[in-house]
């Protein structure tokens, strides 16, 4: 498992490092006080630090027929897929730790800090599920098809955002999440996170099955 982890880690270091740098610039240079809306923007970066490198790594693996190569080694397919699923969690944990550190170093009133943490944990939970579903779709439809869909989805999401801002819904875009999780206890958010991890584990089992069916067809 260590070989696969090390090989794929490069993608997370490159993408993660880049977006971490952007975050550092954002937090250190332009932000002097914290708010849940800013925490929303900040934690969106986690998506680029987790899902994007995971999918890029898979695209490269597909290009080199890596799964066929790995199947000639003393490795179970389950082990390979588990390693692939483990890395996003490690990257996500690092990203969340970084954001929490940033929140603490900037500081704020206790209720604001709690809401910021809630926003971050909720986004982390959502990213866990999105990553699992992305793996599933990628294994099912192949990296090339999946990435095309991903690009179109990204463009569509941006267009929706532009339309929302032009319609005067800009505040709502940044406020809906803080409104949803604001005021809730952190334990509630941790429970959501735990539930998403269970979903992630179930998605991983499904991904093993799909990968096996596709490889063994």
């Amino acid at each position: 498992m260590s070989g696969i982890l090390r090989r794929n880690m490069t993608f997370y270091i490159v993408y993660g490092g880049f977006f971490l740098f952007i975050q550092i610039v954002m937090w250190q240079v332009s932000i002097t006080s914290i708010s849940p809306s800013l925490a929303t923007i900040g934690s969106f970066y986690l998506f680029f630090m987790v899902v994007v490198p995971a999918m890029s790594a898979e695209a490269v693996e597909e290009r080199y027929s890596a799964y066929a190569f790995l199947s000639t080694l003393p490795l179970r397919l389950e082990t390979v897929v588990r390693a692939k699923f483990a890395l996003p969690l490690i990257a996500l944990a690092a990203g969340v730790a970084f954001d929490l550190y940033m929140f603490e170093s900037i500081g704020g009133l206790p209720p604001v800090m709690r809401d910021c943490r809630n926003v971050l944990l909720f986004n982390a939970a959502a990213i866990i599920v999105v990553t699992g579903i992305s793996f599933l779709l990628l294994y099912r439809y192949g990296a090339k098809n999946f990435l095309v869909v991903l690009v179109f989805a990204g463009v569509a999401l941006n267009l929706v955002g532009v339309v929302a801002f032009r319609a005067g819904l800009g505040d709502w875009v940044f406020e809906w999440l803080p409104r949803l999780v604001g005021g809730r206890s952190t334990w509630w958010l941790l429970a959501v996170l735990g539930a998403c991890l269970v979903v992630y584990w179930l998605l991983m089992m499904a991904a093993v099955r799909i990968k096996r069916e596709r490889m063994f067809a």
Partner: protein
């Protein structure tokens, strides 16, 4: 003699091809040559043995272990060289060695380094830049470097120049003789099989047509030429692929032991001539039989 590989009733159905109830075994310390025309099912059989595909029926036992349950333990003892050399092409030869070394329990790095040197492989070269022959050499180096007990090779010499081909075959012979290793080698180049195999299995249209010792096959299969009028009905029934021509008829038989007595008179009078066949002739006979 212990078998290192036992395949029973192995079946895999694809839309256009079926591997149909294949059974074979490899005794310890022997080389089995799997011969068949392109598309006969050699690669499918090997992919099933490497768990790169899942059988629809049948069982595969390697070293007495079930492939489904003991995949990792089994693959630790198999050296595999595929028809296609699949690696991370943007990585160096040395990186590839380090990568695979993490998974093989008996990986021998000094041996790998030595083999790279013997095969003239530059560790700093990217795998994608290697020629086809050099990639096959890399596969052999990896396969030998974890001290396997069984080598499984799928058309390893296809496309190699004669020098490299001979070198690889000699290494396989040394592996059998010095390490009591076993080998399954698939090929449609029957010269390779004649050179090294102890046993031969012919696979035609997804079925094993014959599986026997190579010497037994070569002693039982003969090509027989008959002068005009020398071939009678009883003898003709023991022949395959009979061709009539201006000088009489020619056919091959796999029952030479049974009909040798009946041919004695003709051989003495010069009306009948018996020749040894090559494994190519045997393969062609099976393929033509299938078509007819």
């Amino acid at each position: 003699m212990d078998s290192v590989l036992e395949v029973t009733g192995l079946t895999k159905r694809y839309r256009t091809f079926t591997l149909d109830g294949m059974s074979l075994e490899i005794p310890k310390g022997t080389i089995l040559g799997l011969i068949g025309p392109n598309g006969a099912g050699k690669t499918t059989a090997i992919r099933l043995m490497m768990k790169m595909a899942r059988p629809d029926a049948g069982s595969i036992r390697i070293f007495g272990l079930g492939l489904e349950r003991d995949e990792v333990a089994i693959k630790n003892r198999i050296g595999y060289v595929g028809e296609e050399q699949l690696y991370y092409m943007n990585k160096k030869v040395s990186w590839t060695g380090r990568f695979v070394s993490r998974y093989f329990e008996r990986w021998d790095q000094p041996l790998f380094d030595r083999l790279l040197e013997e095969f003239d492989l530059d560790p700093s070269q990217k795998v994608g830049k290697l020629s086809k022959g050099m990639k096959v050499k890399l596969s052999f180096a990896i396969a030998f470097s974890h001290h396997p007990d069984l080598m499984i090779l799928d058309e390893p010499t296809a496309g190699l120049d004669p020098v490299i081909r001979r070198e690889m075959l000699e290494r396989l012979l040394a592996f059998r003789d010095e390490r009591d290793g076993s080998v399954l080698i698939s090929s449609h180049i029957t010269d390779d099989i004649v050179r090294i195999a102890d046993h031969v299995a012919f696979i035609v249209d997804g079925r094993i047509a014959i599986h026997a010792e190579k010497d037994e096959i070569l002693s039982q299969w003969k090509r027989i030429h008959f002068r005009p009028g020398a071939l009678d009905g009883a003898l003709a029934s023991g022949l395959r692929c009979v061709e009539a021509h201006a000088f009489g008829s020619t056919g091959v038989t796999n029952r030479y032991g049974e009909i040798a007595g009946a041919l004695e008179g003709g051989v003495a009078s010069g009306d009948v001539k018996v020749e040894n066949v090559s494994l190519d002739d045997v393969l062609i006979a099976f393929v033509r039989d299938g078509r007819e």
